[in-house]
Amino acid sequence: MQENKKIIALPEKFSIEEVATAMNEIKGLGKDHPIEIDLKNTRFIDSSGIAFINYLKGNYPNAVFENVKPEIEKIFSVFPSHASLEKRRKEKRSGFTERIKLTHVAHSMEHGLENLDVKLSHFRGNFKNFFVLLADEIYYTCQYFFQRRGIYPGEIWHQLFFMAYKSYPIVSMISFLVGVTVALTAAEQLRNFGADIYLADLVGFGMVRELVPLMTGIILAGKIGASITAEIASMNVLEETDALKTMGVVPEKFLMVPRLLAMTLAIPLLVAIADTVGILGGVLVAKFFSEIPAATFFDEMFKVVGLGDFLIGQMKTLVFGWIVVVSSGYKGFSVERSPAGVGIATTECVVLSISLIIVSDCIFALILY
């Protein structure tokens, strides 16, 4: 067996360039293969060199180290090996419990079933927490009408300014462009059937009942939802929500109720503006593309679109707005307390809000049509 022993004589300077060569020499050797590392000539060793030695010590039980100079030995004493640290950690863990990082478990391929179980359990937890927050918000909002405590004075108006005044330009622009696009797309098809006049019905009905609520909801998710999540998540990271709690303030009420009420007040205004501007886009296309005068367009449109449709559009958008506020609050409060967590929570909030808006729009369609 002795002739099989792999002998590696390390050079005078054993640093990162030489480590690669030494690693190549042990490549392909079994873990039990006898190895002799001769440090007779070695006078300088850097951290990568020590890492190589420590790696051998931890993984090759039959590796021996010869002619180690005292000054090199001294350097080893301040570079504990990964194996020794792992051993120490396990010893500590046996006497003292250590927090297990579930994310690590979740990402481990070795824990397939466990992984699935953890994910399912997370999903159940998230689902429950979302509805708990929703119920809390309904309770706190109702409570606010009877007991005006726990909310910063003037906050509702501040939020309303942000949600309505600051949002109406983008909501108007998108609605106008959607109105134009829908009208242009439909006008060409309707012309083929000689049914140009029905463009008014299609644009009016489509915008008021479907496209304005959906587009407004999506814009609010991107603009307001992301901003609410980022703000609450940052407050969580900076312990501001903890500070509120220890001042006897309920953060879920202090931060969310003004936003929910402001959203409730902002939606009718935004929807009215978006409906008007969106239909105006359709009117312009009808006038210049299908040569339908505005008066004729409106006459035809009001035969089909009534107050009920307008109110349904309002109601749908209101629900979408509440979805945006609750989803963003949920993601903000459940943020992982790190700067990266804020970014992740913000992205997740937008995805969650838009998904829930589309799901609820589908449910509305099933109920209303």
Binding site: E98, R99, E239, E240, D242, A243, G248
Partner: protein, 249 residues
């Protein structure tokens, strides 16, 4: 001497995992009790339990002789009326001015208080921390030390029985940190406010401590009068205070 807090057989940690176990200690009225230990030893964890944010995994905490029920909003509400907390980063609300931040506990707990009284209270507290002139500024316009002093003013605005401070000197230069220590000492001497301070700043510890709670290896290593710490001839304590050889802890 009146005991404000009594902790018995307390286990604290996160998600069922114990970080500190079998803790027994008390905080006496008018004392500055300092919680010491290495980074990551659980100082902030125990502070979170003492201020009601983290339910314990075992044992109990009594506040003025009443056991804290961590699942009762009412009990926690009563606790929050009697404590103030100075967080590590100050935790001021960035959308509010200093005045509004300090006035926040008043507005939330006593919304009917006349604004003139509120103004007097806020300005006197801001003056005590040397920031009356900056009342209209926002936290982003202040230095770290000023933010912490504002947070201290907010913590004491409703005359709490006890103020908890999490690493008050962290991130501050030695002069500002020393100023904060002097401020805490003065508040204790003049108004009898009790402090529980989590720190590992040696200068700060020497200046303010009446009693010390040293945490090590998940347990209490020492609890008693600060001056008694140095009669122990304990290698960990000596290393911590840089008075002995640097053992590998």
């Amino acid at each position: 001497m009146t005991e404000i807090i009594r902790v018995e057989k307390l286990d604290v940690g996160y998600d069922g995992e114990v970080v500190l176990k079998q803790l027994d200690f008390s905080v006496a009225k008018g004392d500055i009790t300092v919680i010491l230990g290495k980074s990551g030893c659980g100082k902030t964890t125990i502070l979170k339990t003492l201020i009601g944010l983290l339910p314990p995994l075992g044992g109990e905490v009594a506040f003025f002789g009443e056991k804290i029920d961590y699942h009762s909003e009412k009990t926690l509400g009563e606790l929050y009326k009697r404590i103030g907390v100075l967080y590590q980063g100050g935790a001021l609300l960035n959308s509010l001015t200093l005045y509004e931040n300090v006035a926040l506990p008043i507005k939330m707990q006593h919304p009917g208080l006349p604004p003139q009284i509120e103004r007097e209270m806020v300005y006197s507290r801001l003056a005590q921390v040397g920031l009356a002139e900056s009342a209209a500024k926002y936290p982003a316009e202040l230095s770290g030390g000023m933010r912490k002093r504002t947070a201290l003013a907010r913590a004491m605005i409703l005359d709490p029985d006890i103020i908890f401070c999490d690493e008050p000197s962290a991130g501050l230069d030695p002069i500002t940190a020393a100023g904060l220590d002097v401020l805490m000492r003065n508040l204790r001497d003049l108004f009898g406010i009790t402090f529980v301070v989590v720190t590992h700043e040696l200068r700060s510890i020497e200046k303010i401590s009446d009693r010390a709670l040293v945490l090590h290896n998940g347990r209490i290593h020492f609890f008693g009068a600060y001056k008694d710490l140095f009669n122990l001839n304990d290698p960990f304590i000596d290393t911590f205070f840089m008075k002995g050889e640097n053992h590998d802890y």
